[in-house]
């Protein structure tokens, strides 16, 4: 069985994955996406299984698709990345499956985006349909802020930045939750606290801090249900504590975990490697 880790740069997470594989006697080859040359009309399968850890969403999509065409098992599969990585698709799929999720609208023009904001009521949250680390995720407190945002996007944005995604603002208690789902198990969760540095954003890549979040039955059930919408795999399910209970606002398909192993005490990289290797054998 030939297995490999696919990455853009060797992040601390990726080093932990390599080390976890070594400890378990699992040989893991390395594919750096910048060095890939993909012969689309006649490539050869080199690996039976590839653990997808590219930093780039574009490279994640194309390498996953390419490798699957060659008969390689990719974890997570292309279809997962395609659906999870597009917030427009993900929100619609979560809602359809009955997963509690904030009320959300999509629109293509400033006029319809303004109608959506009126329906939601200010403040509203506007996000790019593709994006991570909460980049360009803005809380818009009033009509003037919305108009400024829309004008900027119309003047400077590319086509996908003009797909307007507006979401109900959840008055969260200065924190949100990331739950780690591997296969059919919720292996741990962290609270992500907003800080002076991160502002209202909680992302740890933006200065938010992490602490352990107990995996309650409710949290585990919602995390597994949300992950299940996209198919069995490895996920970071982001949720907020609303007045009506937990709501899922994002499901991460190539989840980062560097700040989560210590607070949770969960061997997230070890469990990821074990899951990946066992699925690749099937």
């Amino acid at each position: 069985m030939r297995l490999a880790l696919l990455f853009t740069i060797l992040t601390p997470e990726n080093k932990q994955l390599l080390s976890s594989a070594k400890k378990r006697g699992i040989e893991l080859g390395r594919i750096q996406d910048s060095g890939m040359l993909m012969e689309l009309t006649g490539g050869q399968k080199e690996f039976d299984g590839v653990l997808q850890r590219s930093s780039s969403y574009a490279r994640t999509l194309y390498t996953s698709f390419y490798l699957e065409q060659l008969g390689t098992y990719v974890c997570n599969p292309y279809a997962v990345h395609r659906k999870c990585g597009d917030k427009f698709l993900a929100s619609a799929l979560l809602a359809k499956a009955g997963v509690p999720t904030p009320k959300t609208f999509g629109a293509f023009t400033p006029e319809q985006a303004t109608v959506a904001a009126k329906k939601l009521g200010f403040p509203v949250v506007m996000k790019p349909v593709f994006g991570s680390w909460a980049r360009l995720v803005h809380k818009l407190n009033d009509r003037e802020a919305l108009e400024a945002e829309l004008e900027s996007r119309e003047e400077m944005g590319h086509a996908f930045q003009k797909v307007y995604y507006l979401q109900e603002h959840i008055n969260k208690p200065g924190r949100d939750i990331r739950a780690f789902v591997i296969g059919d198990e919720c292996v741990g969760a962290i609270y992500r606290h907003s800080t002076e540095k991160s502002g209202w954003i909680t992302n740890t890549g933006r200065g938010g801090t992490a602490s352990n979040c107990p995996v309650t039955r409710e949290l585990s059930e919602i995390a597994l249900k949300a992950a299940g919408v996209f198919g069995e795999g490895i996920y970071g399910v982001d949720m907020m504590e609303s007045e009506d209970g937990l709501v899922v606002h994002e499901v991460n398909h190539t989840t980062e975990f560097r700040n989560s192993v210590e607070p949770t005490g969960a061997d997230i990289p070890g469990k990821m490697i074990e899951y990946f290797a066992s699925r690749a054998k099937k």
Binding site: L10, T11, N14, L18, S55, S56, Y57, T254
Partner: protein, 56 residues
């Protein structure tokens, strides 16, 4: 352990133990982020910029 030079400022960069290909290190003099390209011989280059679609 061998060494090389920072492509930005020319400062000497020594090969840390445990460092691996694809890892990002910082130049101790100018702070430029550098990607380890090979271990034997030890070679580095400027790290790729973080793109709009990076991260999770």
């Amino acid at each position: 352990m061998s060494g090389t030079e920072c492509p930005e400022c020319g400062a000497g960069i020594s090969q840390r133990e445990g460092v691996d290909v694809g890892e990002i290190i910082a130049c101790p003099d100018c702070g430029t982020k550098l990607e380890v390209k090979s271990l034997q011989p030890f070679a580095i280059d400027k790290a790729p910029s973080v793109e709009e679609d990076w991260g999770e």
